[in-house]
């Protein structure tokens, strides 16, 4: 039993030893990684799963009759089932493997979107969305002569404003579950119910890139039609992500990329396509990635997603208290740490986020600075750039202490 630390935390996750990268020292100092919103660190179990594929059964899937090909196929499809279980999909075939959440949203825009959206239809997204949940809809709306509307969910008044935007022409609402800048957690289940009450024909796509890694997600409870998320943000490898969609929708969608694996029969004159999910997985997929993602899901399940959420909630509470003592530091997003996810965007008076991040780097403290792929949000907030610290299961209160010390040091160096 590990000794409990006197830091006011009750969850006491001590998982750092599972993450080999945390053994690394740069200039004799440990890594203080506070950028999990950008990408997460990898546990040994995930690294081992990926290596095992490459070292023991790195064959292509579906085609071969020989043993290692069968092993690869089984592992790949088992990964699909593992992911389906993680988000409580009603069917395994509702899980499509893609490169990342961005590709998932592009896939929906290119297939369901092109097929469904007509001139003068309406699509709603939000001012605080990540570019991946804005740009595909912008281009789709332009292509089809449809209207793109923006809800402002940065304050509590925004929910009602979103509902006011729903009309008989609204075909899609594309919203984030958790903001990668403000840490706002949207009440998706309630929103979907209200949206569909007002327009039953409206579909809802949820950007789950920041929610699936950090809290329990159940697509049946959420009631949405599509969910997108990325493997690398949830302890998994880069280059693998998931689009979940209701099977009835996926069945009606035309292919995305075409070629091998997604076809049923090809002749010179015509081609027939597979059913979902394989219809949307052309070519050889990131087999190792899917296997690694399954290992990541299993690791997260062993920690428990409620525990993950509680751990981050406590870290946010701790961080709010610590950062609140720094004069000139402003945190963006909800004031109540209980309602926020483990991501905190902030500015410090007269210190540009770039310079702050640079000075923190001297002590191996990794934060992000810039617009975090949310330029419209920054324009809306009236800032050009923010600094961002984000937490995950391996983050400790010591990490936050280092951050605070680093910010104070930067202040001394830069304020002259």
């Amino acid at each position: 039993m590990l000794p409990t630390r006197n830091d006011g935390m009750t969850t006491h996750l001590n998982l750092q030893n599972d993450f080999p990268i945390l053994q690394r020292q740069i200039n004799g100092k440990r890594l203080v990684y506070l950028d999990s919103t950008a990408s997460s660190l990898k546990p040994q179990a995930v690294i081992d799963a990926v290596s095992a594929y490459y070292s023991q059964y790195s064959a292509n899937i579906f085609r071969g009759i020989y043993t290692i090909s069968e092993e690869a196929t089984q592992a790949y499809e088992a990964a699909r089932a593992t992911v389906a279980g993680f988000i409580h999909a009603s069917q395994v075939k509702e899980i499509i493997f893609v490169r990342n959440a961005t590709e998932a949203m592009n896939l929906v825009a290119a297939t369901w979107g092109r097929q469904t959206i007509r001139k003068n239809d309406e699509i709603i997204t939000g001012v605080m969305e990540h570019h991946a949940n804005i740009v595909p809809w912008q281009l789709l709306a332009q292509e089809k002569g449809a209207k793109l509307l923006f809800a402002d969910l940065t304050t509590s008044a925004g929910e009602e404003q979103l509902y006011q935007l729903i009309s008989s022409r609204t075909k899609l609402v594309a919203i984030t579950h958790i903001s990668n800048v403000l840490g706002i957690i949207n009440p998706i289940a309630r929103m979907v119910a209200e949206i569909k009450k007002r327009n039953p024909a409206c579909s809802v796509l949820v950007d789950g890139a920041q929610s699936v890694p950090h809290q329990p997600v159940d697509v049946q409870s959420l009631g949405c039609d599509f969910l997108a998320f990325s493997g690398h943000k949830m302890l998994g490898p880069t280059g693998i992500g998931v689009l979940w969609g209701k099977y009835s929708l996926l069945e009606s969608m035309p292919p995305y990329q075409t070629g091998g694996e997604m076809i049923r029969h090809v002749s010179l004159e015509k081609t027939t396509f597979q059913d979902p999910p394989h219809r949307f997985e052309a070519g050889t997929p990131h087999i190792a990635g899917a296997i690694g993602l399954a290992a990541a899901v299993e690791y997260l399940q062993s920690v428990g997603m409620d525990t993950v959420r509680n751990h981050e909630k406590e870290l946010v509470r701790y961080a709010f208290a610590a950062l609140g003592n720094i004069p000139g530091l402003q945190i963006y997003g909800p004031d109540d740490p209980e309602t926020r996810a483990g991501v905190i965007a902030f500015t410090v008076d007269t210190i540009h986020p770039h310079d702050l991040a640079q000075i923190l780097d001297r002590d191996n403290i990794c934060i992000r600075s810039g617009s975090h792929c949310a330029m419209p949000l920054h324009t809306h907030l009236g800032v050009t750039a923010t600094a961002r610290a984000s937490f995950y299961i391996y983050t400790t209160t010591e990490d936050i202490d280092e951050l605070v010390a680093g910010i104070k040091k930067a202040g001394k160096i830069l304020k002259g």
Binding site: H352, P353, H354, D355, Q358, I359, D361, R362, S369, G370, S371, M375, H378, V383, T384, A385, I413, L414, G416
Partner: protein, 139 residues
């Protein structure tokens, strides 16, 4: 990386040279670094010297940005005042980095080179968008 924020850089950051506006600029141009939102605008007062060459008589810049981008703008404007347009148009990114003479990662280089980009675009802008009467003869 201790060199990055040494006194020279911080001095130019806190007390940037040529920061402000000109009373009667020949040309004005503004640009930004989309990665972080740093914005720099430049105004030039262009005159002809004894050899009838156009040169930068006055220069001013304004902007919002990180220490590197603003220090770089300050050093650059200090360096180019009095030089001919031809010389300044030929100024290379490496020469700007030499002015700063601090080690920069590829990401921070974008910060350092924003002012040069704006300066070059300002010069290019001058021939087609003169602000003052004098400019048509000057450029």
């Amino acid at each position: 990386m201790d060199d990055l924020y040494r006194d020279n850089i911080l001095d130019h950051y806190h007390h940037p040279r040529h920061f402000g506006t000109l009373p009667a600029p020949t040309v004005r141009f503004e640009d930004n670094n989309p990665f972080c939102g740093d914005v720099i605008s430049m105004e030039l007062g262009i005159k002809k010297n004894a050899q009838q060459e156009a040169y930068i008589d006055e220069i001013a810049f304004q902007g919002k940005g990180c220490a590197i981008s603003l220090a770089s703008a300050s050093l650059l404007t200090e360096h180019v005042q009095g030089k001919t347009i031809r010389e300044v148009a030929a100024f290379t990114p490496q020469e700007v980095l030499d002015l700063l003479s601090v080690p920069l990662t590829p990401t921070r280089m974008k910060c350092a080179l924003l002012s040069l980009e704006v300066l070059h675009k300002t010069i290019a802008h001058a021939s087609s968008h003169p602000l003052a009467e004098a400019s048509r003869d000057a450029v």
